[in-house]
Protein backbone atom coordinates (compact mmCIF):
# COMPACT_ATOMS: atom_id res chain seq x y z
CA UNK A 1 0.00 0.00 0.00
CA UNK A 2 2.59 2.53 1.10
CA UNK A 3 5.49 0.11 0.59
CA UNK A 4 6.99 1.90 -2.38
CA UNK A 5 6.73 5.39 -0.96
CA UNK A 6 9.56 7.48 0.38
CA UNK A 7 10.36 6.06 3.83
CA UNK A 8 9.11 7.95 6.87
CA UNK A 9 11.64 9.47 9.18
CA UNK A 10 11.21 9.86 12.90
CA UNK A 11 13.27 11.31 15.66
CA UNK A 12 15.31 9.31 18.14
CA UNK A 13 14.14 9.96 21.66
CA UNK A 14 17.52 10.36 23.32
CA UNK A 15 19.04 12.63 25.96
CA UNK A 16 18.95 15.61 23.62
CA UNK A 17 15.17 15.48 23.11
CA UNK A 18 12.62 16.49 25.69
CA UNK A 19 8.95 15.65 26.09
CA UNK A 20 6.34 17.76 27.83
CA UNK A 21 4.16 16.26 30.53
CA UNK A 22 1.33 15.93 28.00
CA UNK A 23 3.54 14.26 25.42
CA UNK A 24 4.94 11.84 27.96
CA UNK A 25 1.53 10.91 29.36
CA UNK A 26 0.13 10.53 25.82
CA UNK A 27 2.99 8.30 24.78
CA UNK A 28 2.51 6.12 27.85
CA UNK A 29 -1.30 6.17 27.54
CA UNK A 30 -1.73 7.35 31.11
CA UNK A 31 -3.21 10.41 32.76
CA UNK A 32 -0.98 13.35 33.60
CA UNK A 33 -1.61 12.62 37.27
CA UNK A 34 0.00 9.20 36.92
CA UNK A 35 3.24 10.84 35.73
CA UNK A 36 3.04 13.40 38.53
CA UNK A 37 2.73 10.52 40.99
CA UNK A 38 5.83 8.86 39.48
CA UNK A 39 7.75 12.12 39.90
CA UNK A 40 6.60 12.43 43.51
CA UNK A 41 7.80 8.89 44.17
CA UNK A 42 11.19 9.74 42.63
CA UNK A 43 10.78 7.16 39.85
CA UNK A 44 11.29 9.73 37.10
CA UNK A 45 12.71 13.19 37.30
CA UNK A 46 11.74 16.17 35.14
CA UNK A 47 14.73 17.79 33.42
CA UNK A 48 13.85 21.06 35.07
CA UNK A 49 11.26 21.91 37.68
CA UNK A 50 11.88 25.62 37.15
CA UNK A 51 9.87 26.06 33.99
CA UNK A 52 6.11 26.47 34.13
CA UNK A 53 5.67 23.19 32.33
CA UNK A 54 7.75 20.14 33.21
CA UNK A 55 10.05 18.81 30.52
CA UNK A 56 11.32 15.25 30.61
CA UNK A 57 14.40 13.85 28.92
CA UNK A 58 12.94 11.63 26.21
CA UNK A 59 15.14 8.67 27.13
CA UNK A 60 12.98 8.34 30.27
CA UNK A 61 10.03 7.16 28.20
CA UNK A 62 10.89 3.43 28.43
CA UNK A 63 11.22 3.78 32.22
CA UNK A 64 7.81 5.37 32.57
CA UNK A 65 6.26 2.68 30.39
CA UNK A 66 7.85 -0.10 32.39
CA UNK A 67 6.70 1.58 35.62
CA UNK A 68 3.11 1.76 34.38
CA UNK A 69 3.18 -1.86 33.17
CA UNK A 70 4.41 -3.05 36.57
CA UNK A 71 1.81 -0.92 38.32
CA UNK A 72 -1.09 -2.32 36.31
CA UNK A 73 -0.03 -5.88 35.63
CA UNK A 74 1.52 -6.79 38.96
CA UNK A 75 -0.87 -4.61 40.94
CA UNK A 76 2.05 -3.01 42.78
CA UNK A 77 1.89 0.28 44.61
CA UNK A 78 4.28 3.04 43.58
CA UNK A 79 6.82 2.27 46.29
CA UNK A 80 6.85 -1.32 45.04
CA UNK A 81 7.28 -0.09 41.45
CA UNK A 82 10.21 2.10 42.50
CA UNK A 83 11.88 -0.79 44.30
CA UNK A 84 11.25 -3.19 41.39
CA UNK A 85 12.77 -0.72 38.91
CA UNK A 86 15.88 -0.21 41.01
CA UNK A 87 16.34 -3.95 41.41
CA UNK A 88 15.74 -4.48 37.68
CA UNK A 89 18.44 -1.92 36.88
CA UNK A 90 20.79 -3.79 39.14
CA UNK A 91 19.86 -7.20 37.72
CA UNK A 92 20.33 -5.92 34.17
CA UNK A 93 23.75 -4.57 34.99
CA UNK A 94 24.76 -7.81 36.68
CA UNK A 95 23.40 -9.85 33.77
CA UNK A 96 25.45 -7.85 31.30
CA UNK A 97 28.59 -8.28 33.40
CA UNK A 98 27.86 -11.97 33.64
CA UNK A 99 27.47 -12.20 29.86
CA UNK A 100 30.84 -10.54 29.52
CA UNK A 101 32.47 -13.08 31.82
CA UNK A 102 30.72 -16.09 30.37
CA UNK A 103 31.25 -15.23 26.73
CA UNK A 104 32.48 -18.44 25.13
CA UNK A 105 35.60 -18.57 23.08
Amino acid sequence: MTGQQEPLSGIILDETTTLTLDELSGACRVERDAIVALVEEGIVEPASRETTEWQFVASQLPRVRTAMHLYHDLELNLAGVALALELLDEVNELRSRLRQLEEPF
Binding site: G3, I12, P62
Partner: protein, 315 residues
Protein backbone atom coordinates in the same frame (compact mmCIF):
# COMPACT_ATOMS: atom_id res chain seq x y z
CA UNK B 1 -11.09 -20.14 16.76
CA UNK B 2 -9.36 -21.92 19.61
CA UNK B 3 -10.99 -22.47 22.97
CA UNK B 4 -8.91 -21.01 25.81
CA UNK B 5 -8.85 -22.83 29.12
CA UNK B 6 -8.39 -19.87 31.42
CA UNK B 7 -8.27 -22.05 34.54
CA UNK B 8 -5.50 -24.16 33.09
CA UNK B 9 -3.56 -21.06 32.01
CA UNK B 10 -3.55 -19.76 35.58
CA UNK B 11 -3.03 -23.26 36.98
CA UNK B 12 -6.10 -23.22 39.22
CA UNK B 13 -9.09 -25.54 39.68
CA UNK B 14 -12.44 -24.55 38.19
CA UNK B 15 -13.83 -24.06 41.70
CA UNK B 16 -10.95 -21.82 42.82
CA UNK B 17 -11.90 -18.87 45.01
CA UNK B 18 -11.38 -15.32 43.77
CA UNK B 19 -8.48 -15.06 46.23
CA UNK B 20 -6.83 -18.17 44.83
CA UNK B 21 -7.19 -16.80 41.31
CA UNK B 22 -5.64 -13.51 42.32
CA UNK B 23 -2.76 -15.26 44.06
CA UNK B 24 -2.11 -17.55 41.10
CA UNK B 25 -2.15 -14.64 38.66
CA UNK B 26 0.17 -12.46 40.72
CA UNK B 27 2.65 -15.26 41.17
CA UNK B 28 2.73 -16.07 37.44
CA UNK B 29 2.73 -12.41 36.46
CA UNK B 30 5.83 -11.75 38.56
CA UNK B 31 7.54 -14.65 36.84
CA UNK B 32 6.49 -13.98 33.26
CA UNK B 33 6.05 -10.22 33.09
CA UNK B 34 7.89 -9.19 29.91
CA UNK B 35 9.57 -6.26 31.66
CA UNK B 36 10.98 -8.57 34.30
CA UNK B 37 11.32 -12.03 32.82
CA UNK B 38 14.10 -13.33 30.62
CA UNK B 39 12.13 -16.43 29.58
CA UNK B 40 12.00 -16.63 25.79
CA UNK B 41 8.22 -16.90 25.52
CA UNK B 42 7.47 -14.52 28.41
CA UNK B 43 5.53 -12.02 26.33
CA UNK B 44 3.12 -14.59 24.86
CA UNK B 45 2.70 -16.40 28.17
CA UNK B 46 2.03 -13.12 29.94
CA UNK B 47 -0.58 -12.00 27.40
CA UNK B 48 -2.35 -15.29 27.87
CA UNK B 49 -2.43 -15.04 31.64
CA UNK B 50 -3.45 -11.37 31.61
CA UNK B 51 -6.40 -12.34 29.42
CA UNK B 52 -7.28 -15.29 31.68
CA UNK B 53 -7.15 -13.02 34.73
CA UNK B 54 -9.22 -10.32 33.03
CA UNK B 55 -12.02 -12.87 32.74
CA UNK B 56 -11.66 -14.88 35.94
CA UNK B 57 -11.16 -11.93 38.30
CA UNK B 58 -14.49 -10.45 37.26
CA UNK B 59 -17.34 -12.54 38.70
CA UNK B 60 -19.69 -11.58 35.86
CA UNK B 61 -17.29 -12.55 33.12
CA UNK B 62 -16.23 -15.65 35.01
CA UNK B 63 -19.84 -16.81 35.36
CA UNK B 64 -20.44 -16.25 31.66
CA UNK B 65 -17.26 -18.14 30.79
CA UNK B 66 -18.19 -21.00 33.14
CA UNK B 67 -21.51 -21.27 31.36
CA UNK B 68 -19.68 -22.54 28.27
CA UNK B 69 -19.18 -25.73 30.25
CA UNK B 70 -16.20 -27.65 31.56
CA UNK B 71 -15.91 -30.07 28.67
CA UNK B 72 -13.85 -27.88 26.41
CA UNK B 73 -10.13 -28.49 26.05
CA UNK B 74 -7.62 -25.69 25.55
CA UNK B 75 -6.81 -25.36 21.82
CA UNK B 76 -10.03 -27.12 20.71
CA UNK B 77 -11.88 -25.50 17.82
CA UNK B 78 -14.56 -23.33 19.35
CA UNK B 79 -17.76 -21.60 18.23
CA UNK B 80 -19.80 -19.81 20.84
CA UNK B 81 -23.32 -21.23 21.22
CA UNK B 82 -26.07 -18.81 20.16
CA UNK B 83 -27.29 -16.59 23.00
CA UNK B 84 -24.46 -17.83 25.16
CA UNK B 85 -24.23 -14.55 27.02
CA UNK B 86 -27.95 -14.02 27.49
CA UNK B 87 -28.59 -12.74 30.96
CA UNK B 88 -25.11 -11.32 31.45
CA UNK B 89 -24.14 -7.75 31.19
CA UNK B 90 -20.52 -6.74 31.19
CA UNK B 91 -20.16 -3.53 33.03
CA UNK B 92 -17.13 -1.31 33.06
CA UNK B 93 -14.32 -1.04 30.58
CA UNK B 94 -11.02 -2.81 30.60
CA UNK B 95 -8.10 -1.36 32.47
CA UNK B 96 -5.64 -0.29 29.82
CA UNK B 97 -2.03 0.58 30.25
CA UNK B 98 -0.65 -2.85 31.05
CA UNK B 99 1.87 -4.75 28.96
CA UNK B 100 -0.65 -7.49 28.25
CA UNK B 101 -3.58 -5.24 27.50
CA UNK B 102 -2.57 -4.56 23.92
CA UNK B 103 -4.26 -7.47 22.25
CA UNK B 104 -6.43 -10.24 23.58
CA UNK B 105 -7.25 -13.36 21.60
CA UNK B 106 -10.08 -13.76 19.08
CA UNK B 107 -11.64 -16.11 21.62
CA UNK B 108 -11.77 -13.33 24.20
CA UNK B 109 -13.04 -10.75 21.77
CA UNK B 110 -15.79 -13.00 20.49
CA UNK B 111 -17.00 -13.64 24.01
CA UNK B 112 -16.53 -10.27 25.61
CA UNK B 113 -16.22 -7.83 22.74
CA UNK B 114 -13.36 -5.59 21.74
CA UNK B 115 -11.53 -3.98 24.57
CA UNK B 116 -10.56 -0.37 24.64
CA UNK B 117 -13.95 1.24 25.04
CA UNK B 118 -14.00 2.87 21.65
CA UNK B 119 -17.70 2.32 21.20
CA UNK B 120 -19.86 5.37 21.72
CA UNK B 121 -17.13 7.78 20.78
CA UNK B 122 -18.36 8.28 17.25
CA UNK B 123 -21.08 10.76 18.10
CA UNK B 124 -21.32 14.09 16.31
CA UNK B 125 -19.26 16.87 17.75
CA UNK B 126 -16.95 14.53 19.60
CA UNK B 127 -13.38 15.12 18.72
CA UNK B 128 -10.32 13.46 20.12
CA UNK B 129 -6.71 12.89 19.26
CA UNK B 130 -5.90 9.35 18.12
CA UNK B 131 -4.02 7.06 20.44
CA UNK B 132 -0.30 6.64 20.19
CA UNK B 133 0.81 3.32 18.80
CA UNK B 134 3.79 1.33 20.07
CA UNK B 135 5.70 -1.25 18.10
CA UNK B 136 9.05 -2.95 18.35
CA UNK B 137 11.61 -3.15 15.59
CA UNK B 138 14.49 -5.62 15.53
CA UNK B 139 17.71 -4.48 13.86
CA UNK B 140 21.32 -5.61 13.53
CA UNK B 141 24.17 -3.80 15.24
CA UNK B 142 25.46 -2.87 11.79
CA UNK B 143 22.18 -1.05 11.09
CA UNK B 144 22.95 1.35 13.95
CA UNK B 145 26.17 2.27 12.11
CA UNK B 146 24.70 2.86 8.69
CA UNK B 147 20.98 3.40 9.21
CA UNK B 148 18.43 1.16 7.55
CA UNK B 149 14.83 0.92 6.42
CA UNK B 150 12.13 -1.38 7.70
CA UNK B 151 8.78 -2.29 6.31
CA UNK B 152 6.34 -2.59 9.16
CA UNK B 153 2.84 -3.99 9.18
CA UNK B 154 0.76 -2.48 11.95
CA UNK B 155 -2.65 -3.56 13.11
CA UNK B 156 -4.90 -0.82 14.37
CA UNK B 157 -8.47 -0.97 15.57
CA UNK B 158 -10.77 1.29 13.62
CA UNK B 159 -14.42 2.16 14.10
CA UNK B 160 -16.47 1.92 10.92
CA UNK B 161 -19.58 3.95 10.11
CA UNK B 162 -21.85 1.43 11.80
CA UNK B 163 -19.81 1.80 14.96
CA UNK B 164 -18.18 -1.64 14.68
CA UNK B 165 -14.60 -2.01 15.67
CA UNK B 166 -12.46 -3.81 13.15
CA UNK B 167 -8.76 -4.30 12.72
CA UNK B 168 -7.14 -2.48 9.87
CA UNK B 169 -3.77 -3.46 8.51
CA UNK B 170 -1.39 -0.70 7.56
CA UNK B 171 2.05 -0.99 6.09
CA UNK B 172 4.73 1.61 6.61
CA UNK B 173 8.22 2.02 5.28
CA UNK B 174 10.28 3.54 8.07
CA UNK B 175 13.82 4.86 8.10
CA UNK B 176 15.84 3.74 11.12
CA UNK B 177 18.42 6.47 11.63
CA UNK B 178 22.12 5.90 12.11
CA UNK B 179 23.24 6.17 15.73
CA UNK B 180 20.19 4.55 17.28
CA UNK B 181 20.82 2.55 20.46
CA UNK B 182 19.35 -0.54 22.10
CA UNK B 183 16.06 0.21 23.88
CA UNK B 184 15.67 3.70 22.41
CA UNK B 185 12.37 4.86 21.01
CA UNK B 186 11.86 6.55 17.65
CA UNK B 187 8.87 8.83 17.38
CA UNK B 188 6.98 9.21 14.10
CA UNK B 189 4.54 12.06 14.51
CA UNK B 190 1.03 11.51 13.22
CA UNK B 191 1.58 7.83 12.39
CA UNK B 192 -0.39 6.44 15.35
CA UNK B 193 -4.10 5.69 15.45
CA UNK B 194 -6.34 8.09 13.55
CA UNK B 195 -8.19 10.71 15.58
CA UNK B 196 -11.95 10.77 16.06
CA UNK B 197 -14.23 13.36 14.54
CA UNK B 198 -11.40 15.14 12.75
CA UNK B 199 -9.02 14.99 15.71
CA UNK B 200 -5.29 14.71 15.17
CA UNK B 201 -3.75 11.27 14.64
CA UNK B 202 -1.60 9.89 17.44
CA UNK B 203 2.12 9.23 17.16
CA UNK B 204 3.91 5.99 16.41
CA UNK B 205 6.65 4.95 18.81
CA UNK B 206 9.12 2.34 17.65
CA UNK B 207 11.22 0.64 20.28
CA UNK B 208 14.56 -0.45 18.89
CA UNK B 209 15.86 -3.87 19.81
CA UNK B 210 19.20 -5.25 18.64
CA UNK B 211 19.48 -8.83 17.45
CA UNK B 212 22.19 -10.71 19.32
CA UNK B 213 25.44 -10.45 17.37
CA UNK B 214 27.98 -13.27 17.06
CA UNK B 215 30.91 -10.87 17.64
CA UNK B 216 29.81 -7.73 19.44
CA UNK B 217 28.08 -7.13 22.72
CA UNK B 218 26.40 -3.73 22.98
CA UNK B 219 26.15 -1.59 26.12
CA UNK B 220 24.59 1.78 25.44
CA UNK B 221 26.89 3.46 22.93
CA UNK B 222 29.81 1.11 23.48
CA UNK B 223 30.62 -2.20 21.84
CA UNK B 224 32.57 -5.05 23.38
CA UNK B 225 34.52 -7.58 21.40
CA UNK B 226 36.70 -10.53 22.37
CA UNK B 227 39.80 -10.65 20.20
CA UNK B 228 41.77 -13.88 19.84
CA UNK B 229 45.56 -13.49 19.80
CA UNK B 230 48.37 -15.95 19.21
CA UNK B 231 50.72 -16.23 22.22
CA UNK B 232 53.58 -14.62 20.27
CA UNK B 233 51.38 -11.67 19.20
CA UNK B 234 50.58 -11.00 22.85
CA UNK B 235 54.16 -11.55 24.01
CA UNK B 236 56.03 -9.60 21.35
CA UNK B 237 53.41 -7.03 20.42
CA UNK B 238 51.79 -6.90 16.98
CA UNK B 239 49.63 -5.00 14.57
CA UNK B 240 46.42 -6.92 14.02
CA UNK B 241 43.17 -6.42 12.16
CA UNK B 242 40.12 -5.93 14.35
CA UNK B 243 36.60 -6.30 12.93
CA UNK B 244 34.22 -3.38 13.53
CA UNK B 245 30.68 -2.95 12.17
CA UNK B 246 32.21 -0.27 9.95
CA UNK B 247 34.81 -2.63 8.52
CA UNK B 248 38.16 -3.89 9.82
CA UNK B 249 40.65 -1.49 11.44
CA UNK B 250 44.28 -1.91 12.48
CA UNK B 251 45.13 -2.05 16.15
CA UNK B 252 48.49 -2.14 17.86
CA UNK B 253 48.85 -4.82 20.52
CA UNK B 254 51.49 -3.77 23.06
CA UNK B 255 54.21 -6.27 23.92
CA UNK B 256 53.61 -8.36 27.03
CA UNK B 257 49.81 -8.11 26.77
CA UNK B 258 47.95 -10.47 29.05
CA UNK B 259 44.85 -12.48 28.30
CA UNK B 260 41.78 -10.63 29.57
CA UNK B 261 43.26 -7.15 29.29
CA UNK B 262 41.07 -4.57 27.65
CA UNK B 263 42.03 -2.10 24.93
CA UNK B 264 39.85 0.78 23.79
CA UNK B 265 39.30 1.91 20.23
CA UNK B 266 37.99 5.39 20.81
CA UNK B 267 35.00 6.48 18.75
CA UNK B 268 34.52 3.06 17.14
CA UNK B 269 31.26 2.37 19.00
CA UNK B 270 27.82 3.45 17.88
CA UNK B 271 28.08 6.73 15.97
CA UNK B 272 26.52 9.95 17.25
CA UNK B 273 27.38 13.41 18.49
CA UNK B 274 29.38 11.62 21.17
CA UNK B 275 30.24 8.35 19.49
CA UNK B 276 30.70 5.26 21.63
CA UNK B 277 33.92 3.28 21.99
CA UNK B 278 34.85 -0.26 21.03
CA UNK B 279 36.38 -2.21 23.90
CA UNK B 280 38.54 -5.12 22.85
CA UNK B 281 39.24 -7.89 25.36
CA UNK B 282 42.31 -9.91 24.49
CA UNK B 283 42.06 -13.68 24.58
CA UNK B 284 45.22 -15.64 24.04
CA UNK B 285 44.60 -18.83 22.11
CA UNK B 286 47.33 -21.43 22.03
CA UNK B 287 47.93 -23.41 18.84
CA UNK B 288 46.89 -27.07 19.23
CA UNK B 289 49.60 -29.62 19.94
CA UNK B 290 48.27 -31.89 17.23
CA UNK B 291 51.45 -32.86 15.40
CA UNK B 292 54.84 -34.21 16.33
CA UNK B 293 56.40 -30.92 15.32
CA UNK B 294 54.02 -28.89 17.51
CA UNK B 295 54.52 -31.21 20.47
CA UNK B 296 58.30 -30.94 20.10
CA UNK B 297 57.96 -27.15 20.08
CA UNK B 298 55.90 -27.12 23.29
CA UNK B 299 58.45 -29.49 24.83
CA UNK B 300 61.20 -27.07 23.90
CA UNK B 301 59.27 -24.18 25.46
CA UNK B 302 58.87 -26.16 28.68
CA UNK B 303 62.61 -26.61 28.80
CA UNK B 304 63.57 -23.07 27.80
CA UNK B 305 61.17 -21.19 30.10
CA UNK B 306 61.60 -21.20 33.80
CA UNK B 307 57.91 -20.54 34.26
CA UNK B 308 55.45 -21.67 36.91
CA UNK B 309 52.00 -20.15 36.21
CA UNK B 310 50.87 -21.22 39.72
CA UNK B 311 53.73 -19.55 41.56
CA UNK B 312 51.30 -17.09 43.12
CA UNK B 313 49.34 -19.98 44.66
CA UNK B 314 52.31 -21.19 46.63
CA UNK B 315 52.43 -24.53 44.79
Amino acid sequence: MEYKDYYQILGVERDATQDEIKRAYRKLARKYHPDVSKEADAEDRFKEMAEAYEVLKDPEKRAAYDQLGANWQGGQDFRPPPDWDAGFEFSGGFGGGGAGAASFSDFFETLFGQQGGMGGMGGAGFRSRGEDHHARVLIDVEDAFHGTQRNLTLHAPEVDQQGHVRTRERSLNVRIPKGVRQGQHIRLSGQGHPGMGGGQAGDLYLEVDFKPHPLYRVEGRDLYLDLPLAPWEAALGARVKVPTPDGPVDMRIPANSRSGSKLRLKGRGIPGKTPGDLYVTLKIIQPPADSEKAKAFYQQMAEEFDFNPRAGMGV
